[in-house]
């Protein structure tokens, strides 16, 4: 069948008809227009699935063991509660950062990214402190293991977003702070929503299920 059955012209033929003009389209966009937004959503799905399965493991072990927690006392919740309040409160500056990015207001975006970097660093510090109040070691029993795993799994997400925010904040103080970088700030804010929202079920599982 070396002779083509259907005669088709490869692209590049001179006489191609011009049917649609793309030249007036913008070169970057925000939210669902941007491929990066969808890519971020894809990673939410992956990481969300990881969280869901880790929480599923927690519940599986909980129903398997006749008593829970497998420790003298449930974990001290105050550091975790404080961190939860901080994360929930950070939704507001995060929203502001997203809005200012869409307005391409460089001055405010710089300010917002610094605020979000500080919030992130504070949250990581609190998280490290949270480990000290668990009252159980990771190698003591399965309860200790899954509790540490849940906190650490979320910590990796916190650290990732804080790292990303710090680099982006630095970037916005250079000559590269134009155009598409504002869309990147929007995507970074989008990721922070996921970091905060994924924390809430983990917070409930780690600190309140053992008290139930």
């Amino acid at each position: 069948m070396n002779a083509p059955v259907t005669e088709t012209r490869p692209s590049g033929a001179d006489e191609q008809r011009n049917a649609y003009d793309l030249s007036r389209l913008p070169t970057y966009g925000f939210g669902a227009k941007s491929p990066m937004w969808w890519g971020t959503l894809g990673f939410f799905a992956i990481e969300g699935m990881g969280f869901a399965l880790a929480l599923g493991t927690y519940l599986y072990l909980l129903q398997l063991n006749p008593s829970w927690p497998l420790a003298p006392a449930p974990p001290d919740h105050w550091a975790g509660t404080l961190n939860t309040v901080l994360l929930l409160a950070s939704l507001w500056p995060n929203r502001v950062a997203d809005r200012n990015a869409r307005r391409q207001d460089l001055g405010r975006v710089r300010r917002d990214l610094i605020v979000m970097s500080l919030v992130g660093l504070a949250s990581v510090t609190l998280r490290l402190y949270e480990f000290t109040g668990l009252g159980v070691s990771w190698d003591q029993n399965a309860y200790g293991s899954i509790t540490w795993v849940l906190l650490a799994l979320h910590l990796t997400h916190l650290v990732t977003d804080v790292g990303d925010t710090l680099v982006l904040a630095a970037l916005m103080f250079t000559r590269h702070a134009t155009g598409k970088r504002f869309s990147d700030v929007g995507d970074n804010a989008f990721y922070w929503y996921f970091v905060v929202l994924s924390w809430l079920p983990i917070y409930l599982a780690v600190y309140w299920l053992p008290r139930w």
Binding site: M1, N2, P4, V5, T6, E7, T8, R9, P10, S11, G12, D14, E15, Q16, R17, N18, A19, Y20, D21, L22, S23, L25, P26, T27, Y28, G29, A32, K33, S34, P35, W38, G39, G42, A45, I46, M49, G50, L53, A54, T57, Y60, L61, L64, N65, L70, W138, D139, N141, A142, Y143, G144, S145, I146, V149, G163, V167, H176, T178, G179, R181
Partner: protein, 642 residues
């Protein structure tokens, strides 16, 4: 590899594809989108075709290595009490065989074909997140080399491809063999997940203008649904293997029943991935079949909508079956009954697909070339495997034949039937697109018949061996068991099958140099990849096609209408809306970069280090962070500043 000169950066920034035409436009775009010639340039490539070719070649290399382990096992089992390999080597061999075939070939090959073909089929210039694509390949290659180098150093895993605890746990598997398995999982699943996201976003946002949802080629639909299955299934096995490493390395007790953990938890997590995995291997097979059949039946596919809905239904149902791998673990009867029902249910969408394909061939005027032969082989072998699958869905039968050669026969029928037969057909089909040359039809027929006959002679007798009670994973058996003749027959079949693959590799090598020149569309096919040159230019298309029909090349015989106005000065592609594929943005596409390779090396060193000490994670963090920053930090190129 393109022979592009260093990229010209002194062009007027607003040069558009409307300002040039013909060869001048082609050459300009090829320079901008090309991969350079030096070693660093090649390692920096972000062209989906370059990376796709590497993926495909690497996956076939692992298929070959996995095949070699199978041949050694078959030779060992040919006679009772054979002494070719001992039990320890045999344990490593079957673990390497399963792990290689599932993780280094089965999942990657579908994604590899998608990386090459999906951007061409949807009419765009590169995959979404091309640097992530490069990174994913290096991570995949590192994971594969890690496993095989460990095997050569006699620390290959020996705990089976699903590495159940407690056998793989700290108590029964001292040393590093089980860690090698677990960390190989981390490598390959990371790369698999990255590619899945790239495919999803490419399909959602980079389709050529006019390619509405109901004009997406079925090949693309299948790999799109497949990517979603990957996104939701692979985290389970990553979690399972991470838990295993934690139990082994830092003494967590997740799988230790003595300290509140549970061994069956591992099986649940593993099979929550492991069953969808079967469909991750099968859906690319359906993608190949759905592309090959309309071309060679000379008509549009019958039941497009039914096929798309079947794919989606299969995707959902694949997550409701995992417990049928655990029927003998003593689950509650109600659970077993539910999973029996769901295991039978999934036969419905799969059956529907088979009927649609047969209807297409029935109503068409089939042209019997090698790709279509392999599709027919697929029908026969896969349906046979599906039928023994229905048998295994029944708890009493499953209990009887669990861990026997009956199961080995069943899953080789579905996996080789569902993936490898369509894949070989797909290579014959797209080889002219990849290389510009056709494969030999004569060798193709030899290839098909050797593989088809060899496969059935090797695997059909295993059903009977299994019913006679022969268990899996035994390195030898006594003559009094009476399995010897059937096992000898299986070995003979395996050698014929292997010779079929040698013919295939010979055909590839010979056709690369001496095959007939193909031209852009040697089969007269209807989808967009056949509108590009063979092999495609770095930019794929000089002007973005405008899609008016499901088979654009059949509908627009006078030449495709196009969309114009993209940059001819830097890498730019068109971003379109999710449902209607309305143009939304002209977006810059990242230029080549060495940083994905650097990041992959940093990640790889961290993964390997972490099987020896948990501190490797901390040491690894700064290099990884530095590499990622280098990757994302703008370099002042036109793409960055667009």
């Amino acid at each position: 590899m393109s022979d592009a000169a260093p990229l010209p950066r002194d062009l007027p920034r607003d040069l558009r594809d409307t300002d040039l035409d013909g060869p001048a436009l082609s050459e300009r775009l090829a320079r901008i989108w090309g991969t350079g010639r030096g070693v660093i340039a090649r390692l920096s490539s972000v062209d989906h075709k370059v990376i796709g070719r590497r993926y495909i070649a690497t996956a076939f290399l692992f298929l070959f290595l996995g095949g070699l382990t199978a041949i050694v096992m078959r030779l060992q089992l040919a006679r009772p009490e054979n002494g070719l390999v001992g039990p320890d080597t045999y344990n490593q061999l079957f673990t390497m065989h399963g792990s290689t075939m599932m993780f280094l070939f089965g999942v990657p090959i579908g994604e590899a074909m998608a990386v090459y073909l999906v951007p061409l089929m949807v009419g765009t210039r590169n995959i979404a997140f091309p640097r992530l694509n490069a990174f994913s390949y290096w991570v995949y290659l590192s994971g594969g080399l890690f496993l095989w180098i460990s095997f050569l150093l006699n620390i290959g895993p020996d705990v089976g491809w699903f590495a159940y605890v407690p056998l793989s746990g700290p108590e029964y598997s001292p040393g590093k063999r089980a860690d090698v398995w677990a960390q190989m999982i981390t490598f390959t699943e990371l790369s698999g997940l990255a590619v899945a996201v790239e495919i999803i976003v490419t399909v959602l946002k980079q389709r050529a203008p006019g390619m509405t949802l109901d004009r997406i080629p079925l090949f693309v639909w299948a790999l799109f649904v497949n990517s979603f299955i990957i996104v939701f299934a692979l985290p389970a096995v990553m979690l399972a293997s991470t838990f295993l490493i934690l139990d082994r390395l830092i003494g967590t007790q997740l799988f230790n029943p003595a300290e509140g953990g549970d061994a069956l938890l591992f099986q649940h997590l593993f099979w929550f991935f492991g069953h969808p995995e079967v469909y991750i291997i099968f859906l690319p097979g359906t993608a190949f079949v759905s592309a090959i059949i309309p071309t060679f039946a000379r008509r549009e596919i019958f039941g497009y909508l039914a096929l798309v809905l079947s794919l989606i239904a299969t995707g959902f149902l694949s997550f409701g079956l995992w417990v049928h791998h655990m029927f003998t673990t003593g689950l509650p009867q109600l659970g077993a009954a539910f999973f029996t029902a769901s295991s039978m249910l999934i036969a419905i969408p799969n059956g529907l697909q088979i009927f649609c394909w047969i209807a297409t061939l029935w109503d068409g005027r089939p042209v019997w070339r090698t790709p279509l032969l392999f599709v027919c082989g697929f029908f026969f072998v896969f349906v046979a495997g599906g039928l023994s699958g229905i048998m295994l869905a029944s708890v009493p039968i499953d209990t009887q034949v669990h861990d026997t050669y009956f199961v080995v026969a069943h899953f080789h029928y579905v996996l080789i039937g569902g993936n490898v037969f369509p894949l070989l057909g797909a290579i014959y089909y797209w080889f002219p697109k990849f290389t510009g040359r056709l494969m030999s039809e004569r060798l193709g027929r030899w290839n098909f018949w050797l593989v088809f006959v060899g496969f059935n002679v090797a695997f059909f007798p295993m059903h009977i061996s299994g019913l006679m009670g022969m268990p899996r994973r035994v390195y030898t058996y006594g003559p009094e068991m009476g399995w010897g003749d059937l096992q000898m027959l299986s070995t003979a079949g395996a050698l014929v099958l292997f010779s079929g693959f040698l013919v295939f590799f010979w055909n590839v090598a010979a056709s690369l140099r001496r095959g007939d020149i193909a031209g852009p569309n040697p089969w007269g096919a209807g989808t967009l990849e056949w509108a590009a040159a063979s092999p495609p230019a770095p930019q794929n298309f000089d002007r973005i096609p405008l899609v008016t029909h499901r088979e654009p090349l059949w509908a627009e015989r006078a030449g495709l209408p196009v969309a114009t106005g993209l940059s001819a000065a830097y890498r730019e592609l068109v971003v379109t809306s999710v449902a209607e594929a309305e143009p939304q943005l002209r977006e810059a596409s990242p230029e080549p970069s060495i940083w994905p390779l650097v990041a992959a090396l940093a990640v790889g060193a961290t993964f390997i280090g972490s099987i020896f000490t948990p501190h490797a994670v901390l040491w690894g963090l700064p290099p990884i962070a530095a590499a990622l920053t280098g990757w994302f930090w703008p370099k002042g190129t036109p793409e960055d500043e667009a």
